[in-house]
Each structure stands twice: as structure tokens, then as C-alpha cells.
Symmetry: C3
Subunit: 121 residues, 3 copies
């Protein structure tokens, strides 16, 4: 942990996902909440099949889910989500004619049952 | 919010995913629970790598995860999941020789840490 | 239920995903927790866009999320995650020069709102 999933609609052709993932990871390192930078496992997926709402408008989204081990305070989670949203905002600028939504969600992973193995150990 | 993820096995060649996503969104709008239709962000993913159970039967699945902000009642969540299951059932008919499972899950997103930005604002 | 999602970085070319999914399912059947083997719906996704940490090292991950209906004990969830981690470890051996992380997370699905339909019924 943490695990980060970036999901985005594939109508954002200007987006440099490799750079974005690295910046998201730097934001997490900068939060001071994660002892080892190597623990941050981030991945991204573009969706070609998506639908925002029901109206026939040009719409796009990018959504980050950050999964962390349970036990952190609400204030800290809010701080993490706002830091990640700042990174999204810098990476994905507003575009004329495109209704764009950027979202960040923080969720708890059950600490008691989470297991991890790092190899070579 | 809400965020909807449709995951399905890629052995459903007749499935029109674009139509299905739009119908799922219409069902959510029709529930009266979401003030702005544009808030509904739905996406779908076909899995070519899947395995249902352990027996060598012809099997398929479609699974909807609906993530909403925490605080809604159990009765309302059940109503939402049943409404979405109705849409799945209409879109994915039973096929002879295919063991098909349709599922809908509703999960809470932590309201306190969820952040969203809509652009242009 | 259960639903299993395997997410992995796509720099594990030796990985036989079909075999791994079948072994994960067999481990779940062997746990004795799931009455019908056909209920186990597992799928896998390789991520070509990923970033582990911030340092420029060769890194990889495989992460299993097992979603089960709420109500099972912490001890049982731990047993399930450890059993699945054993399967990952056998399937994905350590490689010289590659920093590899294998993780398993167990999460609850809300029992009250989960709905499923099996066709033909």
C-alpha cells in the first residue's frame, strides 16, 4: 500500500499519463504518510467505453482511487485527496467545449487481512 | 459521483455496451437520487482474461459496481441495485449453453475525503 | 460472489494468467467458504501504464482484490488472503534485478444491496 488507480475517459488525447502517474506518486511521497516510496503502486486505465450522464454533450472524466490501510484520520484523507486533485488539475487543463470532471476518492483497505510480499526479500 | 463500473467477460459478443451504459445512466437518473444527470460517470471494461469457477463450462458474467457517497439508506441502495439489475437483464438475454451471472453491487465512497472539480467551472 | 480482480504490471512476461486464475479459484474452493464453485468470478488485467514509487528502478506488482459478502470474521479473511498470496508466490517467482510486490486485499461487499441473477434460471 498505497494502491492508486487512475481511470479516465479516452477523449483526453493531450494527457501524458506517464508523467501524471509520476507526479501523483511524488505528491504521495511529499505527504509524508508513506515510509517507503517504493510502496506506492499506481496504475492508469483509459476507457474507450464510457458515458457521462444522459445528455449528448462532450464530456470527459479522470478519477483517482487511492486505497490506503485503514486507520488514518478523516482530516489526513482529505489532505491526501486534495493534494492529488491539485496534481490532476495541473495535468488536465480545461478545454473549450469539453465538460470535464476530475475526482479523487480515498478508501480504506482492511488492515487485518491485507498481506504483502516483496521479492527478492 | 456516482461512479459506475461495468465489468464483463468478453464472451458476450451480442452485447451493445454503448446502449447499455446509456440505459444504466437513465435508470440512475430515473431513481431521482442524483440532482444532475451529468454527475453520473459510467465506464465499461471487457475482460479477455477471466475464469468463472473451476469446472470447464461455458460461463459469462457482467458485474456493475455503483459507487455513491456514503449516507444513503440500505433500502435505497437495494432499490438502486435492483433497478440496475433490471437493465442488465434486458440487455443481456439468457443463451442456451451459457451459464450467465449478472450482479450489481452498491458501495459507499467516503464522503469526507471525496473531492471533485468540474471544468470549465 | 466472490469477485476476484487481479491487477498486474505488464512487465511480467512469463506469467501465465489463465493458469493463475484457475489456481486462485481452486484456492477459494479449497477454503470451504463458497458453496458453489461457479460463484467465483475472477478476472485479470495487465496495466501497461503503471508507476511503482518515484525512483527509476525496475519494479513490478501483482495485486489481488477479493470481494466477498460482508459478515465474515477477520480471522477467516486473513486466512483467505494468505491462501491467495501463496498462489501468487508460486506463480510469480522472484527475478534478479526486479523489485516485485505481491499483495492481496479482502474487501466486504454490502450484503443488503448486492443482487445477482443466474441465467438460465
Amino acid at each position: 500500500m498505497p494502491h492508486l488507480n487512475l481511470e479516465y475517459s479516452d477523449n483526453l488525447p493531450e494527457l501524458n499519463v506517464d508523467v501524471l502517474l509520476l507526479r501523483l506518486n511524488h505528491a504521495l511521497v511529499g505527504s509524508g504518510q508513506f515510509a517507503d516510496e517504493a510502496d506506492i503502486k499506481s496504475r492508469a486505465q483509459a476507457f474507450s467505453q464510457f458515458r457521462v450522464g444522459t445528455a449528448p454533450a462532450q464530456r470527459a472524466f479522470a478519477h483517482v482511487r487511492l486505497a490506503i490501510l485503514s486507520g488514518r484520520s478523516p482530516a489526513l484523507k482529505k489532505q491526501l485527496s486534495e493534494g492529488l486533485l491539485d496534481v490532476l488539475r495541473e495535468a488536465i487543463p480545461a478545454q473549450a467545449g469539453l465538460d470535464l470532471q476530475l475526482c479523487v476518492e480515498v478508501l480504506d483497505m482492511d488492515r487485518d487481512s491485507y498481506v504483502k510480499l516483496r521479492l527478492p526479500s
